[in-house]
């Protein structure tokens, strides 16, 4: 599963993308965020305010309770400020 990060999520984690293989117990976006936070301080700092983290699954906006089964690309980013 490919993870892509944007804006301050990217800066805090310290990379723009990576490929991960989470354990089977990680079924939802919320599970994924919890698992990522165990991977190191930079993740914990980036994803700690989880209410501020927005998610897209294969380019579609999704909620934290969405299933990630079959998803190829998960994007994590702050609230958008375009327009």
């Amino acid at each position: 599963m490919k993870l892509v990060y944007f804006a301050w999520v990217r800066e805090r984690i310290g990379m723009a993308e990576e490929t991960v293989d989470p354990p089977r117990s990680v079924e939802t976006v919320a599970d994924l965020l919890g698992w990522l936070r165990t991977r190191g301080d930079s993740y914990d700092i980036a994803l700690g305010e989880s209410g501020a983290i927005r998610v897209a699954l294969d380019h579609d906006h999704a909620d934290h309770d969405a299933s990630i089964a079959g998803i190829r690309e998960v994007a994590l980013f702050p609230p958008m400020t375009g327009g």
Partner: protein, 154 residues
């Protein structure tokens, strides 16, 4: 169905060219509304905005917003052009053009598009000040509320 044009570009946007593209040789358009979002200088403090985007998703999402507007209002044309990369004060960040036989459809669809771009289009603004400071722009609660009102029936 409306003519939909969407572009995410790193070059300066040209409002005149876009209006011309929509209206040239057309006798069926009664109303064109344009929205131009400009980079402000924040009383001279700002040197540039840097616009990060999510390639692939940004185009899809902007196109989806354009098509939602075209499905909801009787508009013949809708263009949404959005910059990415560095933008200087006075330059255009976003340009929306809607055309219709009737003015209210053109106004409302353009306002709807802007409200959804603010909350749904994967772009993030970073401010570079003249003094050398760098900071991400925070999302506004007001933008979420502006988007919310379109969920009420009207």
């Amino acid at each position: 169905m409306a003519h939909v044009r969407v572009a995410i570009v790193s070059e300066p946007l040209d409002i005149t060219a876009e209006i011309e593209r929509v209206s040239a040789g057309r006798g069926d358009i009664g109303a064109i509304v344009t929205f131009t979002g400009l980079c402000r200088d924040e009383d001279g403090r700002l040197e540039a905005l840097e616009l990060e985007h999510y390639p692939g998703m940004a185009e899809n999402e902007v196109k989806r917003i354009a098509e939602q507007a075209a499905g909801r209002w009787e508009i013949s044309d809708v263009s949404i052009l959005h910059r990415h990369g560095k933008v200087r004060p006075g330059e255009i960040i976003v340009l929306v053009v809607t055309a219709s036989k009737h003015r209210h459809a053109a106004f409302e669809s353009a306002e709807f598009i802007m409200d959804f771009l603010k909350t749904h289009a994967p772009f993030w603004k970073k401010e570079h000040t003249a003094a050398g400071a760098v900071a991400w722009v925070a999302a506004k609660q007001a933008d979420d509320e502006a988007e919310e009102r379109w969920n009420n029936s009207d």
